[in-house]
């Protein structure tokens, strides 16, 4: 681990890279991982229409090459002894500010490389898919530029070695998501959705800024290793404040309660964007932040409890909303929210849970990306129709989409031996472990996680059956057909990941590998027998899927094309549990009232003072202007009077 905080010119840094230091050349090459998509994005945006012909090829190549570099760095990391796997190095001096001297540095370790591989691999597949999906869009080049920017920002976020560098990537992700969600901003509601995502993220960014400011005043540093070393002796209050501020940031980025409202509307973006946001970039950033800041959360048990609560609430929230949505993409979005809730819950359980949070993040990245691409494929076939009530019986017409989607469906359900089984079941099991001897916590969070699994099974099966099974409910103008190979191949690759990734990661010892980058964890025993938990989970999953099959999939089931009148809970879930109403009542309207008050104060007091002064001077001027009457003799008389007056004063003073 080398740490070059001395001021060296960039050239000298490169020299050090080649000649000395213990950081390997592969780790040094990681700056290229970020630079390639970034340069590609800049090229595509600057080249303009000239790049229309080959822009998408460059756009696909950049993350693909970045993935190869990531693999190189990964194998290099594997070849190192376990104690030397965390490598920090400084690219250049960034903010030389006396007591606050910050370099622009990267941290290459097990955690960041896991993310690099996930982001670049899934990202590349989504890029390839987009070539076909966006083939008829005149602005496809710009789309790829934004996608590359998104990937570059996410890579910077996960590779940063300090909170400030991370924040650059963090903001870059926010910007790219805004550009992509509002990609078809000719439609007003899409533009509004983009703005909503941006504003919700700003609220989270506020937390990030507060956290960094507290770190700066307390520790005089925002670098990971320095902050974490301070965390062992800093006051609990400081750490709790930092941890809660970081959690707020994570809630904004990861669409966790109470900042979850933007995620559903973010479906306004083209479907590959949804896949990218939900699988590889953006929403995973919050989980990454919490896991990366593990030492802080470890030292702030109150904040960790809040993480658990947020995760549990979001988990149920997303699941309940997902059960009622008829819009296929919005149901998937609610599912993401719920799954990220699982990850948050796991991240709040400490280092042992964090390992499974990341593992679930990776497997979820595969199966959710696969399902989103599948949803895009269905929309492609059905003329951009997203209402599941108008699908059904598509399994005969779209065999590949159906099969790949089925793999993702089985994976998210947690059916053994699909990927989700190895990650989600572990999280449920960990939720039943009593943290710090708090048995009630184990029961509460464990039951929530268990219930969430059953709900997940229900809403995902409902989605799957409504789209692919049952009676055909589409109109005669729609001719479902399989998508081109450019779209199906990424789906097949992701489906393979959904099937085998969990098994591979478990057999390869991913948890031990990742644990090296996290704090020392304490393996506790769950309050229930692990096999009992597994059995209960499986029973709930089967029950959920069976209910969904009875109501939406079986031959006897009828799915009305128009949503039927239903009871209060489902109506509430259809309306996202009134999240927008609440936000409007609590935030938007008071905010607007505040702004109106400020405007009134501005026009009344501030502008009023200025205008009043101007009016006063004008009226005085108007009175004085009457003296300019055009009579030379009156001027002369005035002058004479003045002279006499002055003389009189002078004489009066002198005598």
């Amino acid at each position: 681990m080398i740490n070059q905080t001395i001021a060296t010119p960039p050239g000298a840094v490169w020299l050090a890279a080649e000649t000395g230091g213990t950081a390997s050349s592969a780790a040094w090459g990681c700056w290229l991982v970020i630079a390639l998509p970034l340069v590609s994005a800049a090229l595509l945006l600057l080249a303009g229409r000239r790049a229309d012909k080959w822009g998408h090829l460059l756009g696909v190549a950049a993350p693909a090459v970045a993935f190869c570099l990531g693999v190189w760095a990964f194998f290099d990391l594997l070849g190192r002894p376990a104690a030397e796997r965390v490598q920090d190095f400084e690219l250049f001096q960034w903010i030389p500010g006396g007591v606050f001297d910050l370099g622009f540095g990267l941290r290459v370790d097990q955690l960041s490389l896991t993310f690099v591989l996930l982001v670049t691999f899934v990202g590349t597949l989504i890029h390839i898919y987009s070539v076909a999906y966006m083939a008829h869009d005149p602005a496809r080049r710009r789309f790829f530029a934004y996608l590359n920017l998104f990937v570059a920002a996410m890579l910077l976020l996960v590779l940063a070695d300090s909170y400030l560098v991370l924040f650059v990537g963090w903001e870059g992700v926010g910007l790219a998501s805004y550009l992509l969600i509002g990609f078809w901003n000719q439609r007003l509601d899409y533009a509004v959705a983009a703005k909503k995502a941006f504003v919700a993220n700003r609220v989270g960014d506020f937390g990030m800024l507060v956290a960094m400011m507290v770190m700066f005043t307390q520790f005089h540093s925002v670098k990971f290793d320095e902050v974490f070393s301070f965390a062992s002796w800093a006051s609990p209050t400081t750490l709790t404040v930092i941890a809660l501020a970081l959690l707020l940031a994570a809630c904004g980025k990861s669409a966790q309660f109470p900042l979850q409202s933007w995620l559903g509307d973010a479906m306004a973006g083209p479907t590959p964007v949804s896949a990218l946001i939900h699988a590889a970039t953006m929403v995973t950033a919050g989980v990454y932040l919490v896991v990366r800041s593990g030492p802080i959360f470890e030292a702030a048990p109150h904040a960790r409890l809040v993480v658990l609560i947020v995760g549990a609430i979001t988990l149920l929230y997303g699941a309940i909303v997902g059960c009622a949505k008829d819009d296929m993409k919005k149901a998937l979005a609610a599912s993401t929210m719920s799954q990220i809730g699982y990850m948050m819950l796991a991240a709040g359980l400490g280092p042992v849970g964090a390992v499974f949070a990341i593992m679930h993040l990776v497997t979820h990245g595969f199966f959710k990306a696969g399902m989103f691409l599948g949803a895009g494929s269905v929309m492609h076939a059905m003329r951009d129709q997203v209402d599941m009530r108008r699908f059904g019986h598509l399994d005969k017409f779209m065999k590949i989409t159906w099969l790949t989607f089925m793999m993702g469906w089985l994976a998210i359900l947690g059916v053994p031996p699909f990927a989700g089984f190895f990650s989600k079941d572990k999280i449920i099991e960990q939720a039943f472990v009593a943290p710090d001897g708090q048995v009630w916590q184990a029961w509460v969070f464990g039951s929530v996680a268990l219930l969430g699994a059953g709900l997940t099974a229900f809403y995902m099966s409902r989605l799957f059956f409504m789209v692919f099974h049952g009676k055909a409910r589409w109109s005669d103008e729609q001719h479902p057909h399989e998508s081109p190979a450019l779209m199906t191949v990424p789906m097949i690759v992701l489906a393979l990941g959904s099937v085998f990734l969990g098994l591979i990661l478990t057999l390869a010892g991913f948890d031990d590998f990742l644990a090296g980058a996290l704090a020392e964890g304490h393996h506790g025993e769950p309050v229930l027998n692990a096999y009992l938990i597994m059995g209960a989970t499986f029973a709930l999953v089967v029950a959920g899927a069976w209910i969904a099959w009875r109501r939406f999939g079986a031959a006897s089931a009828t799915v009305p094309v128009l949503p039927p009148a239903v009871d209060g809970l489902i109506r509430a879930a259809r309306a996202d549990l009134y999240q927008d109403t609440v936000n409007h009542a609590l935030l938007v309207r008071p905010g607007q009232a505040l702004v109106r008050g400020a405007v009134r104060a501005d026009t009344g007091v501030v502008d009023g003072a200025v205008r009043g002064l101007a009016w006063l001077l004008q009226s005085v001027g108007a009175v004085l202007a009457r003296l300019q009457n055009g009579f030379v003799r009156s001027y002369a008389a005035t002058m004479l009077a003045g002279v006499i007056l002055l003389t009189a004063i002078v004489l009066a003073v002198w005598i």
Binding site: R626, Q628, R633
Partner: protein
């Protein structure tokens, strides 16, 4: 004669000049009033110069005469050109710069 007599004469001349400027409309007469005031000032300068036995006052008077000569040149030229354009020499009619 005492200096008081000179000063009384100078004051009388100044007042006559000032009144001329204030009450007459014809610019040439106004001009003459101004000259009268200038020369009243000159007379005061000379009287004081003699009183103190120094040349400063006479020097000032010479300066005033030079300036007055230059002023007459410019002033008369202005009056002539005004008369050419506006057919009048009344100062009350020269009111283009009125508010």
């Amino acid at each position: 004669m005492t200096v008081t007599a000179y000063l009384a004469l100078a004051s009388a001349l100044f007042v006559i000049g000032a009144v001329t400027v204030l009450v007459r409309r014809n610019s040439i007469i106004v001009f003459m009033g101004i000259e009268l005031m200038l020369n009243a000032a000159n007379l005061a300068f000379l009287a004081f110069s003699r009183m103190w036995g120094e040349l400063d006052g006479q020097l000032a008077a010479l300066f005033v005469m030079v300036v007055a000569a230059a002023e007459v040149v410019v002033g008369l030229a202005i009056i002539v050109s005004l008369f050419r354009t506006r057919r009048t020499v009344s100062v009350d009619d020269e009111n283009l710069m009125r508010h």
